[in-house]
Symmetry: C2
């Protein structure tokens, strides 16, 4: 898990997924065939089927790979030096922008991809978020020890933070919104800032709900 | 807009939408035909087509109606008596649960509905959120005057609050999640509480980012 690996020649699996991403972006899900993917990857169809049982499996694996790479990046940010609040802001921003950058060139074909994959995509979402939540929860626990966060339950709070930024993931963006990276970035920062303000410990400011109504 | 109306006999339009909701929940989008909708509503097919040009138009209008009713409820909550923070929490909860309750009996057929409607649904989402944001922004402005919220830009903050709770709207829920109302409610409350904590004015607590790193 934590062993350092140099990046060698791409594996056959990565070559297939790279080829699939190019075709999905250019022609969309429906018009792309397994035959096209094999040709684009420079492989025989039989080799392709040794790695993936179906076009749906290939397409879902391209999403898996994006989330795997993202989770790796989140771990790096979590392990970096700096105030926990800054690291958490960076993580929330990163989870939005890494996904955005991975599919922004899909443009209109993304709608069709999610239309086709929706049930299967929804089914594996929980696994994606669990992996991310683990990294966020660890940082929240660290920040709590350092007095940077007021947070009773790091795991529950981690899920809350992810949920609150999920509406900016590609699945929830229109083709038009995918064209506007800066807009999406600003929205992510605004949500992150409000959430971070909510996590900041209050030493002296009274809670108005406890005072009066 | 603000005139009070007693609810008379349902209009033909409402009868059609009621019939469509029953069929969409029971049989799903693909298996439901315009003929079925006309029969279920007790109308001729010609009358149905006088009101709606296509099955897609009917289905989208059932979603429009849910959002219109919700927006009405949000206005009522905004106009109620009580601390702005409580009203805002109730509004955020309500926007999640009113939608949830409107489609929870769709169960598995909801996946198929959104699969079929995705492009058209995405296109009109902006209009839904603009209507909700207007009501939320007005409450934020009121709360700011009363000293209940720290909020520089009520309109931008309203959009941020909606975005941060959008991941709990039916479009983003799986069939399994639609079965668990209490879970969804708790998640909505957790997000709302964190956002509300972020909006609470800080009179004396220092911002750690300004102090040191």
């Amino acid at each position: 898990m934590t062993t350092v690996r140099t990046r060698p020649m791409p594996t056959t699996r990565d070559r297939i997924l790279d080829a699939a991403e190019r075709l999905l972006a250019r022609f969309g899900y429906k018009k792309t065939t397994m035959e096209d993917i094999a040709r684009e990857a420079g492989l025989g169809k039989r080799t392709l089927y040794l790695h993936f049982a179906s076009k749906e499996a290939v397409a879902l694996s391209t999403i898996d790979r994006i989330v795997d790479r993202l989770t790796g990046q989140l771990r790096e940010v979590a392990a970096a030096v700096g105030p926990p609040e800054e690291r958490l802001r960076e993580m929330l921003l990163r989870r939005v922008l890494v996904r955005f950058d991975s599919v922004r060139h899909y443009s209109h074909s993304l709608d069709e991809l999610f239309e086709s994959l929706r049930p299967a995509y929804m089914a594996r979402r929980a696994r994606y978020f669990a992996a991310e939540a683990q990294v966020v929860a660890d940082l929240l626990a660290e920040g709590r020890r350092l007095g940077a966060f007021a947070c009773d339950d790091p795991e529950a709070t981690a899920h809350t933070l992810l949920l609150a930024t999920n509406s900016l993931l590609p699945y929830s963006l229109t083709a038009r919104e995918l064209g506007k990276r800066e807009d999406v970035k600003q929205k992510a920062l605004q949500i992150a800032d409000l959430l971070l303000a909510g996590l900041r410990p209050r030493q002296t400011a009274p809670n108005p709900r406890e005072k009066s109504s």
